[in-house]
Symmetry: C2
Subunit: 310 residues, 2 copies
């Protein structure tokens, strides 16, 4: 930890109440390396960054997260939120990232309660590395019921899929990252974030929602990654009734979605998807699909037409 | 934890020295669920299992791993090994999985030393959930140098890629899992394992190598997942000089590979690959590639031939 960070840090008492003060630390998201292909030909390719970010809460080391580094402040907030280490955003005074030492200093008003007890019981999750979800997670899940009256139309699903497809991203340049996005239930993109682990990407979204005081009931959560139990649980904790992915699901992801009443759409790609849970919330629009398919369909060859190879 | 497991457990003193006693717990690896497609048509699809496995060491709860459940005993062994919680396989008396309570009971000869201290400093990794890698990981990495004289031929790379392609797998039936495989450096498949997180699959391989006393120097490690720092570090800890993946790498995965002298082959698919680190160990065989390409190439159309559409 860079000492100067501590020396210049205001004490909790000096700061106004309300929103925490966040740094805006930026770091390179991709690197160029030299690769040899199967012919031994050398070329430069881009790979995504992966860097450690050690979280210090009130000068005490808590955890080291491995991250792309695109949204470290919101990742830190979301980590503290999703691990239930801090109850209210008002309890956080500041979140200051210093990439020169790969660290983030969090100052709270009253500290983390029972940190030893809370970190003693660990769940190492399926999700790419978000890892240790501290005890009592499933007890919390049992208390969640997502709003039954929320609806999502098929055309909104397609709008979301198309928005993601056309999104500028580290993935397009360098591959090997997962993306998560928060949408309104009318398909408006609110925020898109990528990270080397999808757990980090979803934590950053949770951090944003926490910071901005956003409700989940009228939102849609999209991830490029698989819908494992961890992703479904985090979506449920954010109160979001719709979870979409271009990938598939696992048995426990499916079971938790059914338990909390989440609508789960897997394998979203082009006009295809598989609705796996919370089926009553999706508004099917056959006419939208018909129009899309007739647009995609090439005119059939008529007798006498020249045959053209593609 | 099921009490009866404890009641019938022999004490450490009663057991012979040498290999630990392992249960052979089996569980369903896939489940059938009903999905609606974009036309609202119902169909049954398969999804992989994802189940909690709570690890008790000498009756004390250590961690809960989320796993497919295909190789729970080896996963447990590899977890203890890769976290450096037990130094020698001889220290482990038994590993007994009981799926009726989603738990595994590990009995050791002398317990885990300094568990509080070792678990206090956490690294939450990029890898799908293996998560908490306890302190001092990078210090350990600094001490690893992989054998410089190891070689891998291009034809062996292709043999490995083809073996993986034709492998029966949960992935082919249900998707949403990662596979890892251990090969000899002549391309013989030694073991293939899948899990919902690639961290678990690599831990299971580490467990097998630990149990069987296998050296890493003459092995090749293949993963379907990305080559993040965690995967490279674990490969290095197993002493394996070759790491292959059908996916890409990250900057830190690349950097650690260069530091420990690991040969990293990313984007292995068909005859293509990208050699990213440890380049001197790969034996290029242009004649093998030529033969493969001429086999794949369709005969060119000659003038006067009928044009046939595919």
């Amino acid at each position: 930890m860079n000492r100067s960070t501590h020396d210049t840090e205001p004490s909790a008492q000096d700061l106004p109440t309300g929103r925490p003060q966040l740094s805006q630390a930026s770091a390179a998201l991709t690197y160029e390396v030299t690769a040899l292909d199967e012919r031994g030909r050398s070329s430069a390719i881009h790979i995504p960054a992966e860097r450690p970010l050690t979280v210090y809460v009130d000068k005490r080391e808590l955890v080291t997260l491995m991250t792309l580094g695109g949204a470290p402040e919101l990742l830190t907030l979301g980590y503290l939120r999703n691990q239930r280490l801090v109850r209210s955003i008002e309890d956080i005074v500041s979140v200051q990232v210093d990439w020169s030492v790969d660290a983030v200093a969090v100052v709270t008003k009253s500290g983390i309660a029972d940190v030893e007890e809370r970190t003693a019981k660990k769940v190492v999750t399926t999700g790419c590395g978000q890892g240790s979800v501290f005890g009592g997670l499933m007890d919390e899940v049992d208390q969640i019921t997502l709003p039954l009256d929320a609806r999502l139309t098929q055309s909104t699903v397609y709008r979301i899929v198309e928005t993601i497809r056309s999104q500028q991203s580290v993935y397009k340049q360098a591959g090997s990252v997962h993306g998560c996005a928060l949408f309104s239930n009318t398909g408006e993109l609110l925020w898109f974030v990528e990270d080397v682990g999808r757990h980090n990407a979803v934590d950053a979204i949770a951090g944003l929602m926490w910071l901005e005081g956003m409700a989940g009931a009228d939102k849609v959560f999209y991830t490029t990654g698989r819908l494992t139990s961890e992703m479904v649980i985090k979506g449920a904790q954010m109160g979001i009734p719709f979870l979409l992915s271009r990938s598939g699901t696992t048995e426990m992801g499916h079971r938790v979605a059914e338990k909390v009443g989440m609508s789960l759409l897997a394998r979203c790609s082009g006009r295809h998807f598989l609705l796996l849970a919370g089926k009553e919330r999706l508004v099917f629009e056959p006419e939208v699909l018909d129009a899309l398919e007739s647009h995609l369909r090439r005119p059939a060859a008529r007798a006498g037409d020249e045959v053209q190879c593609p």
